[in-house]
């Protein structure tokens, strides 16, 4: 299993993501100006302040040459995880629906939060069970998830809401306490909290490791899925046939 973590000018948590990923597989840093994903099985767009959050968070990073490759990779079913600033980049790139706005309080907040796993069938939550509680730190100033109501309804109906802040844990004003979403196919996931900072009991919780383990599971068993009854299963045939997508090697 090979993870690639993108490094933009201003990325902060790329080495943390690299370390977390290396606990379950191989991991390399990918320079934003390159055009080569180096045959990775999964791409992580990390946290930080790419391009200083100039103009809008993620607005400039989405145009990096490497992001063009990531868009192609994602469209073919490749695994992509956007963490915090990475989530912002993916929304700006329209690889994920919605947008991230300034926290209601307008303040940066760094705090351990409890998350509920809403959809355990995405490529990044397969190692979880629906209803699992994950303790993961969040640290951001622009993390209020927003989309128009009809879009939010659609996301809920399609199982694209992946993680929600547990009751009392949301602090940024996100619509419907949404902490993380996926695309329709479930191969692209974005979340504001930082799973890469929850992989070692010595620094807090190790719940975040499960997201990386989920991806590693996909690489190990590309067409192996679990519960047959979840709504996302309806999209399965398209995924199952994408043998060259998820975990595809180049």
């Amino acid at each position: 299993m090979k993870f690639g973590v993108i490094q933009f000018p201003g990325s902060c948590d790329e080495r943390d993501a690299l370390h977390a990923a290396s606990l379950v597989g191989d991991a390399v840093l990918l320079w934003h100006r390159d055009h080569d994903l180096q045959g990775v099985d999964a791409v992580i767009v990390p946290g930080g302040f790419s391009y200083g959050d100039y103009l809008r968070a993620g607005a400039l990073a989405r145009f990096s040459p490497l992001m063009g490759e990531v868009e192609r990779f994602a469209r073919h079913g490749g695994l992509v995880l956007g963490i915090c600033n990475g989530f912002q980049v993916l929304c700006e790139a329209a690889l994920l629906p919605g947008a991230l706005l300034p926290n209601t309080s307008l303040r940066f907040v760094c705090r351990q939060v409890e998350l509920d796993v809403v959809n355990a069938d995405t490529k990044w939550t397969g190692a979880c069970e629906r209803g699992d509680r994950l303790s993961i730190p969040a640290k951001h100033q622009t993390g209020r998830y927003w989309a128009p109501d009809p879009v939010l309804d659609e996301l809920e109906a399609n199982g694209q809401v992946v993680l929600r802040y547990a009751t009392g844990n949301g602090f940024n004003g996100s619509a419907r306490d949404i902490a993380g979403v996926s695309n329709r196919a479930g191969n692209v996931v974005g979340l504001m909290p930082h799973p890469e900072h929850a992989v070692d009991p010595l620094t807090g919780s190790a719940d975040g490791l499960r997201l990386f383990e989920s991806a590693a599971l996909i690489a190990a068993h590309p067409t192996d899925f679990t519960e047959p009854t979840s709504p996302s299963r309806l999209r399965r045939p398209a995924q199952a046939s994408a043998g060259t997508g998820a975990g595809g090697h180049r």
């Binding site: 000018p9 201003g10 990325s11 902060c12 948590d13 080495r15 943390d16 370390h19 930080g48 302040f49 391009y51 200083g52 959050d53 100039y54 303040r107 940066f108 907040v109 760094c110 705090r111 730190p137 640290k139 100033q141 930082h194 890469e196 900072h197 070692d200 010595l202 620094t203 807090g204």
Partner: protein
């Protein structure tokens, strides 16, 4: 007013300059002297005193005098660290003042080649309850520190904040940074090699902070705060992130002879100091400096304090490689000069020499003044307003203390800082008495560094010698509570006008206390900073020696925590024989409207060193489930803090006398663990109670529900910041 007086130079200093130059200095030269000989750059009133501090030790790999000091942390690694003040700019523009303070200390650390891993900050403001201005300064400085530290991706892991009316007109913002480097790669700043090229890289140069060091730092702040606004520097953490990676890559590739960051007095001090240390000269062509403002004069280019810039010395054959690395990181880089053998700093515009100064005159020959200390006839500090009646019951007293601005939870502040980036943070703010940062695994263990920053100015105001001793002891005690042994210390001396005898007395006595405590504990001073003239119409600040101490612990898995951990655990008080808590200079005395005066308890430094070692050892062995030092607010507050942090009550029996419950003084710790675990402490340990239940009960004194303690502690500062 004469030109030199406008620039802050005395007549005597001017005459000395003329003598050293063997002629009158021109405009450019005078501007350069005014900065190099300012208090901020020249340390005129503190240099002699600082030489009395102990700076050597077996773990010191770089002592004072370089951009940062460094200690050996094992496995071929060194930790470089330093604290610096940015007080005057923060009083004028708190967001940018605090932000650029962080930026500056980061640069000092990566200028020696170390990758920054943590930031801490020590802040002082006036009373937030009654001063909207102090609330504003608190709000904006915290936002500025968060903005810069979070954006550049270095964890802010600790700090301290005190509120006293003495800081109303002169807030303090001291920023500390630690970084890691392979010991053999530490780089120094001495320019060397005649013919080598001087390269300036980083942000373009504008008019930021023109005259900052001389105009702001060495002058008392009068009422014209608003008119000083244009001289404050603006920081760009994104630019610094690129600059950091670029600098570290240049060093990694061994492309540099010397490296220096541009801080106070910009190009002037960077070049003068590099030349002085290397005993060489530098020729700089200011026409080559990339500018961001039009029509800048040569002297402006030399004194600009535009942020995010570094100066390096490069062998000619390596210049192209250096420029290529800078280009990769999208950092401007330009060759602007050469190293000469002349021992002169020459400023040129193209071929034309516009300034020609002898380097030793700028640095080594800067005057160092003797102080004329004399204790004050009466305290220069007013008594604070009384907010608590003398006869208030212990219950009410504890709640008043716990909810006071100086003791309430700092969560509303530290949650604005990213304390996690870098994945090293084993103890976050409010989890333990010191921050704990992990190093790489070593066999089955995870060695770590611990760091604490402390300095109670009000107690130093009571008794400058003992107050300064306490600052050092406080750091050491905090480190002991996580299981760490001190390796080295950095300090920032924040004082009023040293030309006034009573301030000179405060400074002299405080440095003596600092030195004696460091020698007794075996902790060397590896670097630091001095900020003087912190006074305005309302009088001087409290004498505030801020101490930042770094220590090591063998295994982060055994790092101590401050909160009670398990119902049924025994609570013990570990106390030195000489522990003599008193209300003098205490938070309770302040609530009762007492002015800061009176002698603080004496400290038996030898005994305290042994007690700290015993606590440290007990934490390391895993014998204790919690350890917390008794400090501001006294024993009752410490017990309450242990309950709140652990989410557990306790039932405790101690001498219910007021001095025991609320008195302050070094040498006591509240610890908890399984019964029988305190044997190693011998007579120093007294079993005082048991963890459990949902209230804190101190027999014969008070009983308060945990929920109420938690709420009062959580809300104290939060309501002021809302």
């Amino acid at each position: 007013m004469s030109r030199h007086a406008e620039l802050g130079l005395t007549d005597a200093e001017y005459e000395r300059i003329v003598a050293l130059m063997a002629r009158a200095p021109n405009e450019v030269e005078l501007a350069i002297f005014s900065l190099m000989w300012s208090e901020h750059c020249g340390y005129k009133h503190s240099r002699k005193l600082l030489r009395t501090l102990p700076t050597e030790g077996p773990r010191v790999v770089m002592g004072p005098g370089e951009n940062a000091g460094a200690v050996d942390v094992g496995n071929g690694l060194a930790c470089a660290f330093k604290v610096e003040s940015h007080n005057h700019p923060s009083a004028v523009e708190p967001f940018q003042g605090a932000a650029t303070g962080v930026g500056g200390i980061l640069r000092d650390v990566f200028a020696v080649g170390a990758r920054p891993i943590a930031i801490l900050d020590s802040l002082r403001f006036g009373e937030p309850g009654t001063s909207p201005r102090s609330r504003y300064l608190l709000d904006r400085t915290v936002a500025g520190i968060g903005h810069y530290g979070n954006s550049i991706g270095v964890a802010t892991v600790g700090g301290e904040i005190y509120f006293e009316s003495a800081y109303e007109q002169n807030c303090l913002v001291n920023a500390m940074c630690l970084g890691l480097i392979e010991t053999e790669k530490l780089i120094r700043s001495a320019a060397a090699g005649v013919g080598n090229v001087v390269v300036l890289f980083g942000a373009r140069t504008g008019r930021d902070g023109i005259g900052g060091a001389s105009v702001l730092a060495s002058a008392e702040l009068g009422g014209e705060g608003a008119s000083r606004r244009p001289t404050v520097q603006i920081g760009d953490p994104f630019e610094e992130a690129k600059l950091l990676e670029c600098s570290l890559e240049l060093l990694d590739r061994e492309l540099l002879v010397a490296l220096q960051d541009l801080g106070a007095a910009g190009l002037t001090s960077a070049s003068a100091e590099m030349a002085a240390k290397g005993e060489v000269g530098l020729d700089l062509d200011v026409a080559k400096v990339p500018l961001r403002a039009a029509g800048m004069e040569p002297f402006e280019i030399m004194i600009s304090e535009s942020q995010e810039r570094m100066l390096c010395v490069v062998a000619p054959e390596r210049v192209e490689a250096v420029l290529a690395v800078c280009e990769k990181w999208e950092v401007n880089a330009t060759a602007i000069g050469v190293v000469t053998g002349s021992r002169r700093l020459r400023v040129l515009v193209g071929d034309r020499v516009v300034g020609d100064l002898p380097v030793p005159a700028l640095v080594d020959e800067c005057p160092a003044y003797d102080l004329a200390p004399a204790p004050p006839a009466m305290s220069p500090y007013a008594a604070p307003p009384r907010v608590l009646a003398d006869g208030a019951a212990p219950q009410e007293t504890l709640l008043a203390l716990l909810g006071s601005a100086n003791l309430a939870s700092r969560r509303p502040v530290f949650e604005q800082y990213d304390c996690l980036v870098g994945s090293r943070t084993a103890r976050r703010p409010e989890q333990a008495d010191a921050a704990v940062l992990m190093l790489d695994a070593d066999g089955g263990r995870r060695p770590a560094l611990a760091v604490s920053i402390d300095g109670n100015g009000r107690r130093v105001a009571c008794d400058p010698y003992r107050g300064a001793v306490e600052a050092v002891l406080e750091c050491s005690a905090n480190l002991a509570c996580v299981g760490a042994e001190p390796l080295g210390l950095t300090n920032c001396l924040n004082f009023g006008n040293p030309e006034k005898p009573h301030i000179a007395w405060q400074l002299t006595r405080a440095v003596a206390g600092l030195g004696d405590a460091c020698r007794a504990l075996g902790v060397p001073v590896v670097g630091g900073n001095v900020s003087l003239y912190n006074e305005g119409g309302g009088g001087p600040i409290h004498p505030t020696p801020v101490v930042g101490m770094v220590g090591e612990l063998p295994d982060a898995a055994r790092a101590g925590r401050l909160g009670f951990a398990q119902a049924g655990d025994t609570v013990a008080l570990i106390a030195a024989r000489g522990w003599a808590p008193s209300l003098t200079g205490s938070e309770l005395a302040k609530l009762r409207g007492a002015a800061p005066e009176g002698d603080l308890p004496a400290a038996d430094l030898g005994e305290l060193r042994a007690v700290h070692a015993a606590v440290r050892q007990a934490v390391r062995s895993g014998a204790l489930r919690s350890a917390h030092d008794v400090a501001e607010g006294g024993l009752a507050v410490a017990l309450a803090e242990c309950c709140v942090a652990g989410g557990l009550g306790a039932e405790v029996t101690v001498d219910p006398a007021e001095a025991t419950l609320f008195g302050e003084g070094p040498g006591a710790f509240v610890v908890s663990g399984p019964r029988g675990t305190f044997a190693a402490f011998g007579a120093a340990a007294t079993i005082v109670g048991i963890v459990g239940g949902d209230e804190l009960a101190i027999a014969g004194a008070l009983s308060l529900p945990l929920g109420e303690l938690t709420r009062v502690h959580a809300d104290g500062l939060a309501t002021l910041l809302a």
